[in-house]
């Protein structure tokens, strides 16, 4: 068998990978509006625990795969003005909705009616983006466009150093959070 798998087999696998993703989101409680919104209110730290762990574990494995020719990177363009404005809008939307697009889909599966209602807003947002795309594809998205760059490219600091540093910071952060949670629970 040769990788990557393409064609109909990949389509079947995509549903299985999707199910695994939705399953993990539900088990991690991030399909719960309250958990996500309380992260932004700094009273629940589930989201940051899940995300930081996923980034470090995922990143180390993908680094290994890429180094051994078993995977390639899929880097998005760093159109910095677009990324910054988009991220600001996204943050406002995520707190109003209480979900990001992935957790919203999984939450619909868990029975959240307001996630379902908000998904109509997401689809409308997708339509509105396509209709307004001409307005900034040659303007805003070209401002401070760095291309498909990675942190090691612009800093000269090697990948393992980044992950080592991130892992140390994450462990310290997680220990602080756990101590804080134990104190507030008691």
């Amino acid at each position: 068998m040769t990788f990557p798998i393409t064609g109909d087999t990949a389509l079947g696998l995509s549903i299985i990978f999707g199910i695994a993703f939705g399953w993990l989101l539900q088990r991690g409680k991030v399909t719960d509006y309250n958990v996500i919104v309380n992260q932004f209110r700094m009273t629940d730290f589930t989201v940051i625990k899940v995300m930081m762990t996923a980034i470090i574990v995922g990143g180390l494995g993908v680094l290994f795969l890429v180094d051994h020719g078993m995977a390639t990177y899929h880097i998005k363009d760093a159109n910095m003005l677009g990324v910054i404005i988009g991220s600001v809008i996204f943050g406002i939307g995520m707190v109003l909705y209480g979900y990001c697009p992935g957790t919203a889909l999984a939450a619909i599966g868990t029975g959240s009616i307001h996630a379902l209602v908000g998904s109509i807003g997401m689809l409308a947002g997708g339509i509105f983006y396509a209709l307004t795309f001409d307005g900034f594809k040659d303007g805003l998205l070209k401002v401070w466009a760095l291309g498909k760059v990675r942190l090691p490219d612009i800093t000269g600091i090697a990948d393992p150093v980044w992950f080592g540093g991130m892992a140390v910071l994450a462990v310290i952060l997680f220990m602080m959070i756990e101590r804080h949670e134990n104190r507030t629970k008691a």
């Binding site: 990978f17 932004f40 990324v83 990001c100 889909l105 997708g126 795309f133």
Partner: protein, 173 residues
Amino acid sequence: MSLPFCTAHTRPYRVGIGIGVLSWLVFAIVAQPLGITTALSEVSGGITTLFTGPDFVKANSYWSKTVPAIDYGTLFLIGTLLGGFMAAVLNREFKIELAPTVWSQHFGPSLIKRYGAALLGGFLTMYGARLAGGCTSGNGISGGLQLAISGWTFLVVMFGSGLATAFILFKRG
């Protein structure tokens, strides 16, 4: 589960490890990063086709590059919804939730208010995600784990914007 590591306490970390391992698999097996909103904009294009016919969508400069189709990305969306459903049902946590408790505590029982906020919030997350080039999955987790500049910019700015929004929205207590 009786292993000492497998407590409710460690669950967010175990789920994070699971998502990390899942990203190894999708990178290696199907050469795709985890992501949601590129495929969601394909669905938006598909819905638009129902109203305008296919020529309008084909002529659109965005959908001509992100072609609406039943493909890897859109099937992943269906899987994500199914996965949430299966996990909820099999763990007896499936529950019809009209409005969440933290929302109702702050803004009252009005469903119109909650659904208005969900619609507007959904609209903004999708629009923002497309402008930024991805959402929490595609930009945040997939971009973050590849040490992409776009991913880390997204994570930092989105989290700051969300903190500020939550502070303003929920400051009444």
